[in-house]
Symmetry: C2
Subunit: 182 residues, 2 copies
DNA sequence: ACCTGAACACCGTTCAAGT
DNA sequence: ACCTGAACACCGTTCAAGT
C-alpha cells in the first residue's frame, strides 16, 4: 500500500471510529466516505464489508483485551478475573452501539471478517470461565457459548437508551448468576 | 371505516404478520404493501408508523398475556407464575424478530404507538414480580424496569440465530438469578 | 496502482391526483 | 372517503472511466 493509500485508509478509519461511536455500528457508509473526503469506491476497497470496517476498529481493543485476559488469569482470583474481563468486553462492544449483533453472528460465520477476532475473544472468555469453574467459583453448567450469549445480552441492554441507567445493575444480577456463592 | 377499507386493513395486517414473522420486525413496508396488493399510501394511512403496525400485531398476544398474568397470579405459586409469564412474553417478542428493541424503546417514548401496550405489559410483569418478592421467592433488589430489561435480554438472545440453540438454557440461568433459592 | 462517482436496485415517507 | 403511485431523499454495492 502506497503512502497516499495508507493515508486514505487511516483517515477513513478515524472518521469511521468517530461516526460509528456517535451514531452506532449501522451508521451510513456513504456518510463515512463523504466525511472522510474519499470516494465510495475507496472505502469499499479498503473495507470490503461493514464487518471488515468494524473488525479494523475493534482489533486494537480486542488485542488489548486478550492481553488483559492473560494478565487477569495469572494475577487475580478466578472470579475477579472473569468479572473484570466481562465488564471490559461489554464496554468494548457497547462503544459501537449495535456491533454486538455482528460479533455474535460472526462466531458461526466463517466468512465474516469478524470471525477470527470474535472466536479469539470467545476463547479467551472460555479460559477464564473454565478456571473459575475448576475452582468452584463459577456454576459448572454453562460453557463458552453461554458466556458469550450473556455478554451479548449485557451489551444489548447497555445499547438501549431506555435501559442504560439500569445496565450496571443488570450486569451485577447476571454476574451473580454466573458465579457461585462461596 | 367502510367495509372495503376494513378489508384492506385486515388483509394488510395478515400479510404483515406473515412477513414480519418470516423476515423480522424490520421487513420492508413496501414489500408488505406490494404483497397485500395495496398502494403504499393505504398502508401508511392504516398504520402511520412501523410501531403502529407492530402494535396491531402484538395487541392480541399482549391482551391474552395480560389475562394469563391475572390467572397465573391467582392460581399459581408466585415463582411459577412469574416464570411462566416470562417464558410467554419472551416467546411473543421473539415471534417478530427484532421487535423487542421497539418494545423497550416504547416504554420511555410516550409518542410511540407501542407505548400504552408496553407499559401495560411491564406493569403486569411488575405485579407478578412484587408478589414473588413479598413471598421471598424473588430477589428483592430488582424492579419492574430490571425485569423488563431481562426480558429484553432474553428475547434478544432468542433472536440471534447463532445463540438460538442455547437460549432455553440462558433462560434458566437468568431465571435462577431472579428467583431466590428457598 | 489507486481513486472517483455515476448507475442500479433498493428503502421510508409524503402527497397530488384520481375514483 | 378512500386509494394509488410518482416523487423525494436517502441507502448499500458495483464498476467503468479516469489519473
Amino acid at each position: 500500500m502506497s503512502a497516499d493509500a495508507k493515508k486514505n485508509y487511516d483517515h477513513v478509519l478515524e472518521v469511521a471510529r468517530d461516526l460509528l461511536a456517535t451514531q452506532g455500528a449501522d451508521a451510513s457508509l456513504r456518510d463515512i466516505a463523504r466525511t472522510a473526503g474519499v470516494g465510495l469506491g475507496t472505502l469499499y476497497r479498503h473495507f470490503p464489508s461493514r464487518e471488515a470496517l468494524l473488525e479494523a476498529l475493534l482489533r486494537t481493543s480486542f488485542d488489548q483485551l486478550a492481553i488483559k485476559a492473560g494478565q487477569l488469569d495469572k494475577t487475580q482470583p478466578s472470579d475477579v478475573a472473569l468479572l473484570s474481563w466481562l465488564r471490559e468486553i461489554v464496554a468494548v462492544a457497547h462503544k459501537y452501539s449495535g456491533a454486538i449483533k455482528s460479533m455474535v453472528a460472526a462466531i458461526e460465520d466463517e466468512g465474516s471478517a469478524l470471525h477470527a477476532s470474535c472466536v479469539k475473544m470467545k476463547a479467551a472468555g472460555t479460559r477464564l470461565l473454565l478456571r473459575a469453574q475448576k475452582q468452584g467459583a463459577a456454576r459448572p453448567d454453562i460453557d463458552g457459548t453461554d458466556l458469550f450469549a450473556l455478554v451479548g445480552a449485557l451489551a444489548w441492554v447497555a445499547d438501549q437508551p431506555a435501559l442504560g441507567p439500569r445496565s450496571d445493575h443488570i450486569f451485577n444480577v447476571i454476574a451473580g448468576a454466573i458465579l457461585t456463592d462461596q
